[in-house]
C-alpha cells in the first residue's frame, strides 16, 4: 500500500484535477482510496460524479466549567492560547466555544478540577464509491478555527481500512499550513502540482521546503505548462534537485472535462503512475 499526497502550495493549480484523474486511472487495475483532505471546500465528489453519504460527525472536546466548583481565579483564561475563555474578575469564566480548539490546557490548569470535558461538532466525514475507487471526504463546519482537526479525524477514520487498498491518495488543501502538514506527515510521497506563474513558483518553493523538512520525497507536476515561460519552475526544481515529472499543457478538452465534472485523461497521469510502481 502506497500513500501519496497531491499538494502544491498555490490554490487553483489543479490539485483536485490531478488527484481525481490519478485515482480514476489507478482504480482501473487497483483498489484505490481517494481522500479529499481539502476540508474547507471538499469537492472531489463533484469532479468524479460520486454521490457521498455522511458516515460520521467529527467532534471536538470543549471544556465544561462547573460554576459551583469554580473559585473564579481566572487560570483557565490565562492558559487559553486561543482566548476562548473570557474571565472577568469576580465572575465565572465564559467560554466562546467557536474559538475553542479543544487543547484541554484549561482543564489541566484548573486548580480545583472544576472543568470537565464536553463535546461540540466541528465537521463531518462522507464516503462514496465508484467501482474500485472509494472516496472519503472530510468536511469542516464553516467558522471552525482549526481545519487540521478534521484532517486528523479522517486519518483516524481510515486507519483500520488502509490495508484494504493498493493506493491511498490525499488531495490536500492549498497552502503550507496545519491541514496540509497533517496530511504530509502521513504519506510516502508528495506530488506538487504547480503552474508557470510567479505565484505558482513562489508557493511551489514553499511546499517543496515543507516536504523536505518533513522528510518525504517530492515530485513536480507542471500544469498549464505552456501558458507562460516555465523557466522559473525549472530553476526552482533545480534548486531543490527535483526533476519535473510531467507537464500538462493548457487544453480546451481538459477545461471542458473539468467544467462538466469529469476526471481528465492525459498521458501525464501515466507518467505519475509510472513512478508509483
Amino acid at each position: 500500500m502506497k500513500k501519496i499526497a497531491i499538494t502544491g502550495g498555490k490554490g487553483g493549480t489543479g490539485k483536485s484535477t490531478i488527484a481525481t484523474a490519478l485515482a480514476f486511472e489507478l482504480a482501473k487495475k487497483n483498489k484505490v482510496l481517494l481522500i479529499d483532505a481539502d476540508v474547507d471546500c471538499p469537492n472531489d465528489d463533484l469532479i468524479l460524479g460520486i454521490k457521498t453519504k455522511k458516515v460520521k460527525d467529527v467532534e471536538n472536546m470543549i471544556p465544561k466549567i462547573d460554576p459551583e466548583k469554580c473559585i473564579k481565579c481566572g487560570r483557565c483564561s490565562e492558559v487559553c492560547r486561543e482566548h476562548a475563555i473570557v474571565f472577568v474578575k469576580g465572575k465565572n469564566p465564559i467560554l466562546i466555544s467557536d474559538q475553542c480548539t479543544g487543547c484541554k490546557a484549561c482543564k489541566i490548569a484548573c486548580p480545583v478540577g472544576a472543568i470537565s470535558e464536553s463535546k461540540q461538532k466541528i465537521g463531518e466525514i462522507f464516503i462514496g464509491k465508484r467501482n474500485n475507487l472509494h472516496l472519503i471526504s472530510g468536511k469542516m463546519k464553516p467558522g471552525v478555527e482549526e481545519s487540521s482537526l478534521i484532517v486528523n479525524a479522517v486519518k483516524k477514520y481510515i486507519k483500520q481500512k488502509e490495508k484494504n487498498y493498493d493506493y491511498i491518495i490525499f488531495d490536500t488543501a492549498a497552502g503550507t499550513h496545519c491541514p496540509v502538514i497533517a496530511v504530509l506527515l502521513d504519506v510516502d510521497l508528495g506530488i506538487a502540482v504547480t503552474e508557470p506563474t510567479p505565484l505558482g513558483n513562489h508557493d511551489l518553493d514553499l511546499i517543496l521546503k515543507l516536504m523536505k523538512s518533513i522528510g518525504i520525497k517530492s515530485h513536480i507536476v507542471l500544469n498549464r505548462s505552456d501558458i507562460a515561460d516555465k523557466a522559473i519552475i525549472i530553476k526552482t526544481a533545480k534548486k531543490h534537485k527535483i526533476k519535473i515529472l510531467a507537464e500538462i499543457p493548457y487544453s480546451k478538452q481538459i477545461e471542458k472535462d473539468y467544467s462538466a465534472g469529469r476526471p481528465i485523461g492525459h498521458p501525464a497521469i501515466q507518467k505519475i503512475i509510472g513512478i508509483l510502481k
Partner: protein
C-alpha cells in the same frame, strides 16, 4: 452606572469608533443621576491581535465593571461575551458627548444581534 464607548480618541469630543474590537480607545463614563460624573480613557490592547480582538476587547471593557457599551458595530464573538455577561450594547455614532446624552435620554437602540461577520474590523470602515 458605568458605560464604555468605542472611541477614536481619549475625550468626549472624539467620535464613536465604528469598530468595536479594533477601535483605538474605550472612553469609560460614569453616570450618576443622569449626569456625567467621571471620565477616563483606556487604550484598546486588542487592536494588535491577529484574531480574537473582539473577545479581548470585550473582556477589557467588562473588567471595567461597565453595565452598558456604545459602539457603531459589534462582531459575533464580542456580542457573545457581552450577552453571556448580561452587558447591554447600544448602537451610537458621531461625537461621544452627544452619544452619551442620547444614551442618558434612552434614545439609543440596543444591538441584540452582531452587526457583521468576524474580522470585519480589519477592513477600513
Amino acid at each position: 452606572m458605568k458605560i464604555a464607548i468605542s472611541s477614536t480618541g481619549k475625550t468626549l469630543e472624539d467620535n464613536v469608533d465604528v469598530k468595536f474590537g479594533r477601535c483605538l480607545y474605550f472612553v469609560i463614563v460614569e453616570i450618576e443621576n443622569k449626569e456625567i460624573k467621571e471620565i477616563k480613557a483606556i487604550e484598546n490592547i486588542a487592536i494588535e491581535q491577529a484574531g480574537g480582538a473582539g473577545i479581548t476587547a470585550a473582556e477589557l471593557v467588562a473588567n471595567q465593571k461597565v453595565e452598558a457599551v456604545i459602539s457603531k458595530n459589534l462582531g459575533p464573538r464580542a456580542h457573545d461575551v457581552f450577552s453571556q455577561l448580561s452587558i447591554k450594547v447600544y448602537q451610537g455614532e458621531g461625537k461621544i458627548s452627544e452619544a452619551v446624552q442620547q444614551f442618558i435620554k434612552g434614545e439609543l437602540i440596543e444591538l441584540s444581534e452582531p452587526t457583521g461577520p468576524q474580522h470585519r474590523g480589519m477592513e477600513k470602515l
